[in-house]
Symmetry: C2
Subunit: 202 residues, 2 copies
DNA sequence: CGAGTCGTTGAACGGAATCAATCGTCGTGG
DNA sequence: CCACGACGATTGATTCCGTTCAACGACTCG
C-alpha cells in the first residue's frame, strides 16, 4: 500500500502536530470547517456519516500508516465525522500550508498527484481483490501483490488481523486460508514473514 | 461515482482520439511505453497482470464512464495489460499533452488533484461498503450514498448488473435484495429509478 | 423475426461468518 | 519478579446466506 508513503509526504511538506485520542473521541464532525488533513500514527480512525434515523454508515477506516480527509483540501467543511476506534495518535497537517506548497512548487504538486494516482491504483486493486470469493485464493493474490520481488516474501509489518480487515475476511478465515496454503506448500510462514513458494508476478 | 467527471476533465484538457476495440483485443501490454491515459466510452476494459504460471490477476475492471491508467502519467511504461472484455470504445488522452497542461496551469493541476482526491474517497467508500456482509444492507447503503439529496432517488444510469458488479454481488443477489427492500417498504422502484422511502443521509 | 441481454425467481450447495475455546506473548503494575 | 490482563494466533463446530446452475419472460437491436 502507498498510504505510508503518502503520510511521509504530508509530513515532509507540512510538519504536522500530533494529537492523541482516546477510544470514541471525535476528531472532527461533519459541517466543521476543514482545517487539517490527517495521518494515523497509531490506532485506527473511522469516518462515518449518519442517516436521519441515526444509523451509521462507515465511509472509511483509516488504519496505522494511512491518511484521511485528503478531500478536505478542496472543501470548506468536513462531510463526515471522524471517530477514534481505540486509543490513537494522529498527525494533523494544516491545510493552508499544504495548499501553499502545492500552489508554489510544481514539483511538489507533481509528487502529490503521483501519490494520489498510486493510491487510486492500489485501492482499485484491493477492490478487485474483494471480488475473489474463495478465501485462500484471495489471500494468495494479496500475498503475490505485496511480496518483495527479490525475496518473494511479505514482511510482518501488518498483523494478521489488519490484513484480514483489508481483505474483508474474518481473521479466523485468514488464518485458516494461510494454514491451508502452507499445507499445500504454496507459502512458508517464518518469523520474518510469509514466503511464496511457487508463484510470482511477472 | 466521480469517474465520469474525471473522464470529462481529461477530455476537456486533452481532446482525446477515439479507439474502437473488439472483444479480447489488447489495448496495451506491460512494458510498453506509456503514452496515453484512457477513459471508457462504451464497453469494459480489464487490467490484468500474469503470474509466472500464467494465471491472470485482475487489477481493475474499468466500466463505462471510468478512466484508467492514470498512473501512466508518472511512469515510463505500463505495468499491466489492458484487454477489452467486449466490444468497447475508449478515448485516448496523450500523456504529454496532459502533463504539459498540468505543469503550465496551476488551476488545472488543482482540478486534477481534486478529481484524484475525490476518486480516492469514492473508492474507499466503495471498499468499506464491501465489508457489509448482508446483501440487503449493502445495497441499502449503496443507495443511501448515491441517492439525490432532494428527490432521494437513484437514477437508472447504471444497469442492475453493473451495480451488482460494483457491489461485489451476483446480479441475482442484487435483485433479490432489491425485491426484499421493496417488500419491506424501504425503497420504491419506478421506471425513473429507485426512491428511498425511510432513510436519508444527513 | 431471431439473437442477445437484462431482469426475475427457484432450488441446492458450499463456504465464510460466527460463536467459542485454548495457547502464547507482551506489557503493566503490584 | 511474578500475577494479571489484553490481545494476537489458532483450531473446532455450527449456522446461515450468497453463489451457482437453471429456467423464463420482456425488451432491444440488427
Amino acid at each position: 500500500m502507498a498510504a505510508p508513503k503518502l503520510a511521509a509526504f504530508f509530513i515532509r511538506i507540512a510538519g504536522g502536530e500530533k494529537k492523541t485520542l482516546h477510544k470514541g473521541e471525535v476528531l472532527f464532525r461533519a459541517g466543521e470547517p476543514a482545517r487539517f488533513l490527517f495521518s494515523v500514527a497509531t490506532g485506527q480512525v473511522r469516518l462515518v456519516r449518519y442517516t436521519t434515523e441515526g444509523e451509521a454508515v462507515t465511509i472509511h477506516s483509516a488504519a496505522r500508516g494511512e491518511t484521511f480527509a485528503e478531500a478536505a483540501l478542496f472543501s470548506d467543511v468536513y462531510h463526515c465525522h471522524a471517530i477514534a476506534m481505540g486509543p490513537s495518535v494522529v498527525h494533523c497537517h494544516p491545510k493552508v500550508a499544504i495548499l501553499a506548497q502545492l500552489a508554489g512548487h510544481a514539483d511538489i504538486a507533481a509528487d502529490f498527484m503521483r501519490h494520489l494516482a498510486r493510491q487510486v491504483r492500489d485501492l482499485r486493486t484491493l477492490l478487485e481483490l474483494h471480488n475473489v470469493h474463495a478465501a485462500p485464493e484471495r489471500v494468495m493474490q494479496y500475498l503475490l501483490l505485496h511480496a518483495d520481488a527479490e525475496s518473494k516474501t511479505v514482511s510482518r509489518t501488518l498483523s494478521g488481523k489488519e490484513i484480514a480487515q483489508q481483505l474483508g475476511l474474518a481473521h479466523e478465515t485468514l488464518y485458516r486460508a494461510l494454514a491451508r496454503l502452507e499445507k499445500e506448500d504454496k507459502i512458508k510462514r517464518t518469523t520474518a514473514g510469509i514466503t511464496i513458494r511457487k508463484f510470482s508476478l511477472i
